[in-house]
Every structure is written in structure tokens, then in C-alpha cells.
Assembly symmetry: C2
Homo-oligomer: 204 residues x 2
């Protein structure tokens, strides 16, 4: 009653944003209309532009406005080391560490036969083509340590068993700064299975 | 580096939303681009439509798409009782109680000489005109119980001292369901000052 139809539509549309419920959406809509109409128009324009022009990189499937993303085009990066990730968010997380100088391949998902997501949907033929072309020395499988992520990593490893690329999987274990007491059993088991020797080997 | 310029623009624009920091904005932008592009376009359209077409009601200054808002046009509501509020959000809060059947007047702010907000900016001449025209029996001053809200209520009351309208202020006190222990001193003082007799008066 106290909300106009357009305001109701706007509140409904704002709920497309992750983590925004009916109450936040109402607060956002009123804030924009009462105090920041120019911000609202800027946001509308930014949304349209991004949807229209941000596509995916032809090489790595990361979000990109050009045919090739900035990372793939950067000649300072080592194109011989390819990190395989599930999503652009993961890519950003790795980029923010600043410690990785290779390139990426974004699967945009993981194998999930129930949802109809197979190797084709993940663009794996493109990844395998890069490996077959001999451009890749090491393939770092950094899919999530979930059942689906593990299965995806396993599938990729199986397919490349006969190639001479170096296949690695990121380490899973106790997070830095974490306490054993609060770490779940699966992680702890991983941490033990992946333990490393601290003793220098005799012939070193 | 890993973010395209348009994506960065979108993330910046999303921060116009109240309660959205850099991290949430990034998550929202990626969610929309990765998983809900149609939702993003719907939102852009809803923002533009709302900004373009939602104005204010000529009578009560509430948000409205028409000359008159739905509440002012509703003949079932008592136009003789006018509730004066600071913002449309307050109006929605009162409407949601379902217990008020009068109409509203939205100040869209409070008196604040430092910010250059005087009686003109609050549209008070329109409110006084309604009172002078004799359409109003009771004026309920429901501005916020802040220094500025109280000052605004006081100013309105002063201006209407000579009119024969019934001026009231909403009660301030301990919230229902609240505990004395956790209520601040100002509220508690209000609650004592505004105490009501529970004894029926002798001549009742």
C-alpha cells in the first residue's frame, strides 16, 4: 500500500544481488531514491555496460572485455605454468596473493553429470589443446577441495596421464593461523597424508 | 590486474548501495556476471524506471508515481488525522503496524540550520496550509526522538500554537519487550516523565 509499483519492482530486482533480503532491498531502494539518484543511474549504466561488454577470454575463459584477458596478454607472465580454477572469484583470490606468476584456465564450474555439466561445458578440450601443443610445462590443479572439485581434478589428471606435462595439485591442510582443535577431520587427515620431511636428506 | 575496467566500474557503482563494502560489491558484481545476467539487466531497468518516474506526492511528499500517492487518494482513510514523519522509511514502518488509519506528511529531513535545512526545505508551508484550511483535526508529530527531531516537532508545535488543531507527540519510553536494565538513561527518563495512571479516576 505504501510502496508504489515501481518501487516494489526495484526492491524485487535488488534481491537478485547475493546476500540481499527483502529488508535490505527496501533500505537500498529508498536510500537510492531519497538520497542518491545519480548513484542509482550510474549503477544502472554500469550494469548494462558490464553485461553487454564483459565476455570471456578466448584463451583462459576468465572474464574479459577483449578477445584475450590482461593476464594472458601479459608477456611478463610464464605461460608455461597454467593454474586450473573453478571460477573467476578463485582467480582473484589467487591474484591477490601476488605469489603466482603463471597463467590461468577457468573452468567456470566443475564436473557434475547430474546438472548436465560435462567436459565440454568446462571447455576442457581447449585446455587439452594447449597441453597438446606443448605450451604447458606444469598444470596446477587448483579446483576446490570438495567432492566435485576433486572429481574434476581427477578427471583432468586421468586425461593427461600420457602427456609429458607436469601435473600438480595444490596442498590441502591446516590453514596458516588455524588451530588443530578447530580444524575438521577431513582437513586434518589431508594434513597428515600430505606431511613433509623437515630433515635434510643425506645426499643434500 | 585481474579485474577488467568495466568490472571495476560496476564494483564502484555497487558501493552506492547502503551497507555494501568493497568485498560485497565484488561478490555481487561477479555473481551477476557469472550467474545472473538477466537479473542484472532487470535491475538496471528497474533503477532507471524508478529514478525517472518515482517523484513525490503533491499532498504529503511521500514517494509516488502519481500526482497524489495511494494513501492520500484513499477515501477510506481519515484525512483529518495527519501524522508528520521525517522520511518515507518511517512511513513504511508505521504502515506496517497496520494500526494507523489517518494520512501522512513526510518532511524528508529535519530542521538543521547548519546544513541549510529550514522550514522551506521541509515543505512546512504546505503542511500549515492544510491546517489553516481546517482539514486537520489532529496533527501527530512522529519525528524521531533525536535532538533534531525534537527541535523540528517543537518548531511545528510553536507555529501552530494559535490554530485550533489538536497537536500530539508520539510516546517515548521503554520499548515493548525491552528490559529496563538495557534501556538507556534518556529513554528511561522519558518513560518516567510520560507515566500514566492505572487507577480509574473517581468520577469515571
Amino acid at each position: 500500500m505504501s510502496l508504489t509499483p515501481l518501487l516494489q519492482e526495484l526492491i524485487g530486482a535488488l534481491r537478485a544481488l547475493p546476500g540481499v533480503g527483502p529488508k535490505s532491498a527496501q533500505r537500498m531502494a529508498l536510500h537510492l531514491l531519497e538520497r542518491d539518484r545519480s548513484g542509482a543511474l550510474t549503477l544502472a549504466e554500469a550494469l548494462e555496460q558490464a553485461v553487454e561488454r564483459v565476455g570471456e577470454c578466448a584463451t583462459c575463459r576468465n572474464l574479459s572485455e577483449q578477445e584475450q584477458c590482461a593476464i594472458c596478454e601479459d608477456s611478463a607472465r610464464d605461460a608455461g605454468v597454467v593454474c586450473v580454477l573453478e571460477s573467476p572469484v578463485d582467480l582473484m583470490a589467487v591474484e591477490q596473493t601476488g605469489g603466482f606468476n603463471g597463467v590461468y584456465f577457468v573452468l567456470k564450474g566443475h564436473l557434475s553429470p547430474i546438472d548436465g555439466i560435462g567436459p565440454d561445458e568446462l571447455g576442457l578440450e581447449r585446455l587439452f589443446a594447449r597441453v597438446d601443443a606443448g605450451q604447458v610445462r606444469e598444470l596446477i590443479l587448483a579446483t576446490n577441495p570438495t567432492v566435485e572439485g576433486e572429481a574434476t581434478a581427477h578427471y583432468i589428471a586421468e586425461q593427461l596421464q600420457d602427456s609429458d606435462v607436469n601435473l600438480t595439485r595444490i596442498a590441502h591442510g591446516v590453514p596458516v593461523g588455524g588451530e588443530l582443535e578447530f580444524v575438521d577431520g577431513g582437513t586434518l587427515a589431508h594434513a597428515f597424508a600430505g606431511r613433509r620431511s623437515l630433515k635434510r636428506s643425506v645426499d643434500e
